[in-house]
């Protein structure tokens, strides 16, 4: 147990600083940079908060880190895009049940000059093989995120292990989607990104979408309640309310109505 003096002193600290002790109920959602950087959450969350009075606090990190944080119990709801990893999370008992929420797709972007000549194609595996063959610069997230996991699946399908070329034409940024796009924009490299982050990204420089439309570029988002049996501190009721709203008609409609520059970024597909 925690000594009383620590308890008292942190409460005193909170009171004197007058911050971090909001009266309103809240939940913590471990999510990914793509949902936040695209502006989707800022757009749909006020609706939920107005309806329920529950404040949704979003921690946006890579999918891999989000899942690890959720395993530690540092979140009430997990909203990420790596279905196999999410199902493992539930199977291991850390999550209660996973629900499909929405999807968008990945696109391969690269410099307008297109040195590997992949523009206009719709086969991501073939395009990646061409990039590798020409040793054209490619920037990877390299951070165990959902996007990184997807990218590695496509390299695998092409029978290529690009990590062997790490540091030469293959660069691992070890960063979020936006930061990785900044790197690619700076060095005129190819990069795999989710469409939502791409559309809301403000520093594209010379980059444009080169390959899209491959069914394998489908990007599914799922939501899971962190298991209160593993972590009694989980705000299960409020968290479940958020999930019910998100996969219910109101949340789904809100997702579909989010537009950026006249384009829809996410498509609801809860069952």
């Amino acid at each position: 147990m925690i000594p009383d003096f620590i308890r008292v002193s942190v409460v005193a600290l909170g009171l004197t600083t007058g911050i971090g002790w909001a009266d309103e109920p809240f939940i913590i959602v471990q999510s990914t940079t793509s949902t936040q950087n695209s502006g989707l959450l800022d757009y749909i969350l006020p609706g939920f908060e107005a309806e329920t009075g529950i404040d949704v606090r979003v921690v946006a990190v890579g999918t891999g880190q989000a899942i690890r944080n959720a395993v530690n119990g540092d979140g009430d709801v997990l909203l990420v895009h790596a279905k196999p990893a999410e199902e493992q999370f539930v199977a291991d008992g850390w999550g209660v049940e996973r629900f499909d929420v929405m999807y968008n797709d990945f696109v391969l972007v690269g410099p307008k000059s297109d040195p590997a000549n992949v523009k206009g194609g719709s086969d991501i595996v073939e395009a990646l093989a061409t990039v590798a063959g020409g040793e054209a610069p490619f920037v990877s997230r390299g951070d165990d995120s959902g996007t990184h996991k997807a990218e590695m699946r496509h390299w695998g399908a092409a029978g290529i292990d690009p990590t062997g070329a790490s540091g030469t034409w293959y660069r691992e940024a070890g960063a979020g989607m936006g930061a990785t796009l900044n790197v690619a924009s700076g060095m005129g490299a190819y990069v795999l990104t989710d469409r939502a982050t791409w559309l809301s990204f403000g520093n594209r420089g010379d980059l444009e979408v080169l390959v899209e439309g491959d069914p394998r570029l489908f990007n599914q988002y799922g939501v899971t309640l962190v298991n209160p049996e593993k972590h009694p501190g989980v705000r299960a009721t409020a968290g479940q309310r958020f999930i019910d709203w998100l996969i219910g008609p109101d949340g789904q409609a809100a997702i579909d109505s989010y537009m950026l520059d006249g384009q829809q970024l996410f498509f609801s597909n809860a069952k």
Binding site: I2, I6, V10, R57, G178
Partner: protein, 244 residues
């Protein structure tokens, strides 16, 4: 200067936007600045309350293991913020020993992380200044019959200008730090989003205007803090308050 000019030319639109955000008193922007200041000021004050007595004790007291402690405190000064963030995260996580306090992802967590970062700076700088002063004062104070213990408040008061400088140095480290607070604060909008984490986020969104505006404010703060330090130093020189 030339490089600066090129940057301004290349990102003229972003710079104009950044300046208008600052000059028009954008509410969101100032809320972030205010939170940064509150977190870092509290962190520095708490660090001073903890670190300065430790530093003074290390300077004046003689006990076995003192040298080792001094080396330890000096080494802690260079502790990587990300590691501090990770350690505080492990403590405050629901899986950690202090998990039931529910402090993770709150400003209090950020204050704790900054206190861990800044306290060694306070202790080390205080130790350095007070030790130098103690050496100079030692015979005189003993001649006046002031005991070792009673000399501590005398030394702290006479080192006041250097200690304020240490305070400002600690504040500079706290306010400019990003690695630790982004881990324990989570960069949650309206709750734990401070200047540095916003800069990191907005840069990753390619939204350079807001990042630049905050960068300009951070640089401004750094200039103000440094101006205060140099004013104090000047005053110290004029009044002969400098040490050694």
């Amino acid at each position: 200067m030339l490089i600066w000019w090129y940057i301004v030319q290349g990102f003229a639109a972003e710079f104009n936007q950044a300046l208008s955000l600052i000059l028009n008193g954008d509410a969101e922007l100032w809320a972030i600045v205010l939170l940064s200041l509150r977190v870092s000021i509290f962190a520095v004050l708490i660090s001073a309350v903890i670190g300065m007595p430790i530093g003074a004790a290390l300077a004046v007291a003689r006990f076995p293991g003192r040298r080792v402690m001094i080396i330890l405190v000096n080494a802690l000064m260079g502790f990587p913020p990300v590691v501090v963030g990770l350690l505080v995260y492990l403590m405050l996580s629901r899986s950690g020993p202090l998990g039931v306090l529910e402090l993770l992802y709150t400003p209090t967590a950020m204050i704790i992380a900054q206190v861990v970062l800044v306290t060694p700076i306070m202790a080390a700088l205080t130790r350095q200044v007070v030790e130098m002063l103690a050496e100079e004062y030692s015979e005189q104070l003993r001649s006046l019959g002031v005991s070792r213990l009673a000399s501590v408040p005398v030394l702290l008061w006479d080192a006041r200008l250097a200690l304020v400088t240490a305070l400002l140095a600690g504040f500079g480290r706290a306010i400019a730090e990003v690695g630790a607070v982004i881990i324990v604060g989570g960069n949650i909008n309206h709750v734990t989003r401070v200047m540095t984490t916003t800069i990191a986020l907005e840069t990753s969104k390619g939204n350079l205007a807001l990042a630049l505006a905050l960068g300009v404010i951070l640089i401004g703060l750094a200039v103000v803090v440094n101006a205060m330090v140099s004013t104090l130093t000047l005053r110290a020189e004029r009044e002969g308050l400098r040490h050694a």
